[in-house]
Structures are given as C-alpha cells and as structure tokens.
C-alpha cells in the first residue's frame, strides 16, 4: 500500500464515520424503543425516510425553504409518524405476543414504503443540504462540509437526547418504565404516555436521521428505506440492544468499516464483512460493545 492508498483508506474511513452519524441516530431509535417496550420496531427507518419526504411535502408551498427549516420540519413529521406507528402497530397488539408486534412493524415498513412510492411514483426527489459546496482540504485529504454538518448535527442530537433522557422528568419516567414497568405504574407514571412520548421523541430523531441521509446524498428515494433498516438493526445489535452509548459508537464504527471495506474489497464484498461482524458480535458478544463478554454453552 503506497502513500496515496493510505490516504485513500483514511479518507474512506473518515467519510464513513461522518456518514455513520445517521446510522447512530437510527440505532438510538431502534434501541430506545427496544429498551422501553422490549420490542423491535422494524418500520423505524422507513418512518424516518417518510418523515424526510413529509418535510418536503410540508414545505412544498414555500419556494427554496432553508435546509435547516426542512430539517426541523422532518423532525416534526417524524414525531407525528412516530405517534401513528405506536397507535397502529403497537397500542392494540397484545403485549404477550412479541411476534405480533414484530410482524405489524414489518407491515408498517412495507406500508410506509408503498405510500412513499405511490405519492412520488418512486421518482427520486432532490433534498436540500447545508454546506454541500464546502470542502475542507488538508493536502490530499479532504472532508465534505455537508457530511461534517451532518456529523455535528447528529452529535448535537445525541447530546440533546442524552440530556432529555438523564436530566428531565420524561427521561426519568422513560428509564423507569424501561427498567420496572409495574413499579413505575405504582408510582403514578402513565405507561401509555411514556410509550407515546418515546415514539414521538425517537420519531423526531428518526426524522432528523432521514433528513440527514437525504442531505448527505442530495436526494430522497424509497430505495433508502431497506438499507437503512438493515444498517439500523446491525448498529442496534453491535451496540447492544437497549444501549444508547453502544448505538452511537456502533453507528460510527459501522459507517467507517463499511466505507473501508468498500475501499479494500469492493462493492460486491463490502456488505459480506459487515454481516460477518454482526455474526461475530452475536456469537462472541451478544450484549454488544459495552457488555461484558459472555460465556458460551
């Protein structure tokens, strides 16, 4: 490997890590819902992309709305879609049957995807990005301004989210329901309210993640829902189901490694290594990055 190859390898990792912040946000959404309800919401990434589409629809009456307004609209749409997902896919499904909610979220994933396809005819739509023409160069090495913005925004969202979770009454209630649902109810915490708010807050995060994905690519397409669902799940497993710091770190790692494997082994093998990483975690570290190593049978 010569110097140029080394620079390209580092560059690939940097690009991947920056883009990985969207995976991290999606991972947080998956993991928080699992943490609170012990259920996987497979429609989460599709809802996030749906929220990004919703932001375009919401602002369609305004010509050239600033990107930051579009992002805020995406968060708003994400919150609304999150609440809808809860009421359609979770609220009325028997709690004792986890497979039923899993299947209902698969149905919602397909439903949201088809709604997007039928609304847009599947045609990709341009999505605004901030700092898309900014490139920071260090000799041969360069960092994309839009991806740096996406990364900083992603980090800011994560910090805000952690503050919400650990410094507010809602956060305390959420964690209480997550750890001791019956005791929380006895303490007067409304499980319904906490569940709805969890879906709204994670939906808002998802909306921002969807908007960040659209901004990073410069376009929105229903094609995004499936790979982001897979990436979100991988991040959640590698980070550890229910672990928020794990989801953040895993998102960045998966983003970086994906890009590195693309550079080293090409597109046809890239996902193979990410899947092998997933299996390695499932076998050797099923609790995720921050879990203690567990013994095998």
């Amino acid at each position: 490997m010569d110097l140029l190859d080394l620079i390209d390898a580092v560059q690939s990792v940097a690009d991947g890590v920056l883009f990985g912040s969207t995976y991290a946000l999606l991972g947080i959404g998956f993991t928080l819902i699992f943490g609170v309800m012990h259920k996987i919401n497979l429609s989460y990434a599709a809802a996030s992309i749906g929220a990004a589409y919703g932001s375009l629809l919401l602002l369609s009456g305004f010509t050239a709305a600033p990107a930051i307004v579009v992002f805020m609209a995406a968060a708003l749409c994400g919150g609304v879609i999150g609440a809808l997902v809860y009421f359609i896919g979770f609220k009325f499904i028997p709690v004792a049957n986890p497979l039923a909610t899993l299947m209902s979220t698969v149905g919602l994933l397909l439903l949201i995807d088809e709604i997007i396809v039928h609304t847009t005819e599947g045609v990709p739509l341009a999505y605004p990005a901030l700092y898309s023409d900014v490139v920071v160069r260090f000799g041969q090495f360069m960092l994309r301004g839009d991806l740096m913005f996406v990364f900083v925004l992603g980090c800011a969202c994560m910090v805000l989210f952690l503050l919400l979770l650990y410094r507010t009454r809602l956060g305390i209630a959420t964690r209480a329901v997550s750890q001791q649902p019956i005791a929380s109810q006895l303490c007067g915490i409304s499980i319904l309210q906490v569940n709805v708010l969890t879906f709204v807050v994670t939906g808002m995060l998802g909306g921002i993640a969807g908007a960040m994905s659209g901004a990073a690519i410069g376009m929105l397409s229903p094609l995004l829902a499936q790979p982001l669902t897979v990436k979100g799940l991988i991040v959640t497993v590698i980070g550890g189901l229910g672990s928020i710091p794990g989801a953040i770190i895993a998102g960045l790692i998966v983003g970086g490694l994906e890009s590195l494997f693309q550079f080293l082994r090409g597109v046809t093998e890239r996902d193979l290594y990410i899947m092998m990483l997933l299996f390695a975690f499932l076998v050797f570290r099923p609790g995720g990055i921050f879990a203690k190593a567990s013994g095998r049978d």
Partner: protein, 398 residues
C-alpha cells in the same frame, strides 16, 4: 288492412333488430391488457406505460376504433396489472391474463421479469411436445438484449442498446478524436445497468478508447466517495455511467464535490428521463445519452402531450408502449381478429403470426424495422442535458 299492419310491424321489428344489431356492434370493446411494475421503486415505469397505452387507445378510438374480423368496429380499452417487477408475480400475472379472453398482452417493464416470463411460453410454435403457454406477449420496456429469442411467442419493441452505443462511440471517435481515455461506472446489482455497461465497455474499447478503470456500486447505495476518488486519480477524459437516475445523481454530485470534471459524460438510456433532471440537473449538465424517443416530430410531440394528460411521462420506454398499441391495431385488422370468446386461441395464433410477419412498423421517430428474432430496430438520436432539459445533440440516421 290487417296484413298491412302485420307487414309494417314485421318491417319495423326488422329495422329495429338491424339497428340494435348495429348499435351493439358499435359498442364492442376490445380490452388490451398491459402489465409491469406499478409498485416499488420502479413504479414510474408502469405508470408511464399505462398512461401511454391509454393515450394511444384514446387516439385510436377518436379515429373510429379498430375493425374486427367480422367487419364490426370496436373501441379499445386498457387494463394494466402490477407485477411488482418480480419474476414470480409476472408469471402469475401472465397466467391470469391468459386465462381470460385476451389475445395479446403488453409488458413487462423489468428485464428480470421478461426473462423468466418468456421462459414459460412455448419456445417453438407448433411443437406438440412443448406445453408452454401459447400466448403472444409484446414487451415495451424490458431492455436487456436478446430476450425475444427465448420464445416465438415473445416480441419486443425496445431499442437495441448495442446499436445505440456502437453508433455513439463511433461518433465520439469521429467528433472528438482528441479524447482517448474513459472511466466506467456501473450499478452492479441491476440487470439492465450491468448488461448495458458490458456493451458500453466493449464499444469504447473497439473504438480505441482506453478504459482506465470501473467504479462499481449498488442500486441503493448512498456513498460514492471511494469510487469517485479512484475515478479522480485515474483522471479520465470521458466518464460513462451505466446506472439509473438515483445513483447516477449520487455519483455526479460526488464527482462535483471532488472536482472530477471529465471532458465528456455518457449516461444510460434509462437516465434520459425527467427523473435525472429533477434530481441533479446542475451536475448532469452536458451528459450525452442515446435514446429512441425525443419530442422532435409533430407525432412525437402530440403523443407526449397526450401521455402527459393521462398522468404519465413520455420517454423511450413509454413511447414503445404507445407505438405497440398502434401496431396491435394494424395486426388486429390485417389478421381479421374476431375478439370473441369462442375465437380466443385462434385470435392468439393470428396475432402471433401477424406480429411475426411484420417487417416494418411505424414509430414516433420514423420507421421501425423488425428482425427475424422478433426484436425492433428503432431509430434513435443522442440527447444531452442542457439548462434542466433534454436537447437533441445528434440524429445518427439523418
């Protein structure tokens, strides 16, 4: 007097019967069934094909409809079924259509569906040992080369990408002798893109261009920085991208960011659509694409407007569906197809024979030749993106 009354009544009854028979004949409707992707990410293909078929049917009906084998006039109606761009669904859809009175179907939109679906048709007409479906299918969009050869019941009205890119690279060599190097980019997991890239690469090399490398990505990829960095390092004079609008735009944007500015850009036929311009008009500026449709003739302009009124967009794919409707009308009339429930199999055989006998058909850009293996030789031209729209760059046939 009584005899006169009876005679008058009989005459009146006869006239009434004749009138109602005539009225009944005028009300006959022949349903043409189309099928293709109307859900999923390639839904736009199905939407456009359906709109084009409906626009053509409306034109034909306005001009009096189609004359059936028994001399009666019939109006055309269009039904369009969704195969979800899925081979199994496509086979199920064609079996469903074949179980009705339909004597022909137009579709599918996806090459992977066409490849499997043509495989269940009888391979050789008259082969008693082959129990394959004996039903003519006329493809409008499925673009992968040579598919009609699978069965003698399969027909296509899609342009030959081999001919188009062969001509394009020969023209480039003539017009831009200073350009020597080329770099390719391909959507590796999409049959059409992959097959067409093979054609582009071969034609580029045969015309003396030096291939410096190939960037590969997947249909739903979102990050192209690694591929474009390799492209930048190769510093090619021409970049040829064989991908659909979503990733074509992703790559063009990344090229813009990394400052990759080739002297010439070449794109995939399917990207000569409004989607590319909606997604990345600025970055796609100047890209050259061969296509078998552009609104350059009065017929083509009128057809594009009619398709637009039906909620679709006219491009090289939907133009094929539009043309097929007129071809079917001609074959129904020349083969004296009856379109009655008791003549279904005979009508299907006549339709197949009529389509197979065609040597030339009328297309929106001019005459379309027909080959012995049931493919089309369509006229084409090169378009390029300029100020957010597709402009004609060159007409090779002129």
């Amino acid at each position: 007097m009584r005899i006169v009354s009876i005679a008058a009544a009989a005459l009146l009854a006869g006239v009434m019967t004749g009138l109602s028979g005539g009225a009944f004949a005028q009300e006959r409707t022949v349903k043409i069934t189309g099928f293709g992707a109307k859900s999923g990410v390639v839904r736009v293909f199905g939407v456009n094909s359906e709109a084009a078929m409906k626009a053509a049917a409306e034109e034909i009906n306005k001009a009096g409809g189609v004359t059936l084998g028994d001399g009666t006039k019939a109006k055309l109606s269009v039904e369009f079924l969704d195969d979800r761009c899925n081979a199994e669904e496509g086979i199920s859809v064609i079996r469903r259509i074949a179980s009705t009175d339909a004597f022909v179907a137009i579709g599918p939109t996806c090459s992977n569906v066409a490849e499997s679906l043509f495989g269940i048709l009888q391979k050789k007409v008259g082969d008693a040992s082959d129990s394959g479906l004996q039903f003519p299918v006329f493809a409008d969009v499925a673009a992968k080369g040579g598919l009609a050869a699978i069965s003698e019941w399969a027909f296509r009205n899609v342009p030959s990408e081999l001919e188009m890119y062969k001509s394009l690279f020969a023209w480039l060599k003539r017009e831009h002798p200073d350009l020597k190097t080329i770099y390719g980019g391909v959507e590796k997991d999409f049959a059409h893109s992959n097959a067409t890239y093979g054609v582009m690469k071969k034609q580029a090399e045969e015309n003396g261009f030096q291939l410096l490398g190939t960037g590969e990505w997947l249909l739903n990829d979102t990050n192209f920085s690694t591929q474009v960095r390799e492209m930048r390092r190769a510093n090619p004079e021409i970049v040829a991208i064989s991908a659909h609008p979503f990733t074509t735009c992703g790559v063009l944007r990344e090229m813009d960011r990394q400052g990759v500015k080739p002297k010439l850009l070449i794109g995939l036929t399917s990207s000569s659509s409004i989607e590319t311009l909606q997604g990345c008009a600025k970055q796609a500026e100047g890209i050259i694409i061969p296509t078998s449709f552009a609104p350059v003739t009065p017929e083509a302009k009128a057809a594009a407007e009619n398709v637009s009124k039906q909620g679709g967009s006219m491009d090289l794919h939907s133009a094929a569906a539009y043309e097929i409707m007129f071809i079917l009308k001609d074959v129904i009339e020349s083969q004296k197809i009856m379109a009655k429930p008791d003549t279904v199999q005979a009508d299907r055989t006549k339709m197949r024979q009529g389509l197979a006998a065609l040597k030339e058909t009328k297309g929106l850009l001019g005459k379309v030749g027909r080959t012995n293996d049931r493919e089309a030789i369509k006229p084409y031209l090169y378009v390029y993106a300029k100020d957010g729209s597709w402009q004609v760059l060159h007409k090779p046939s002129s």
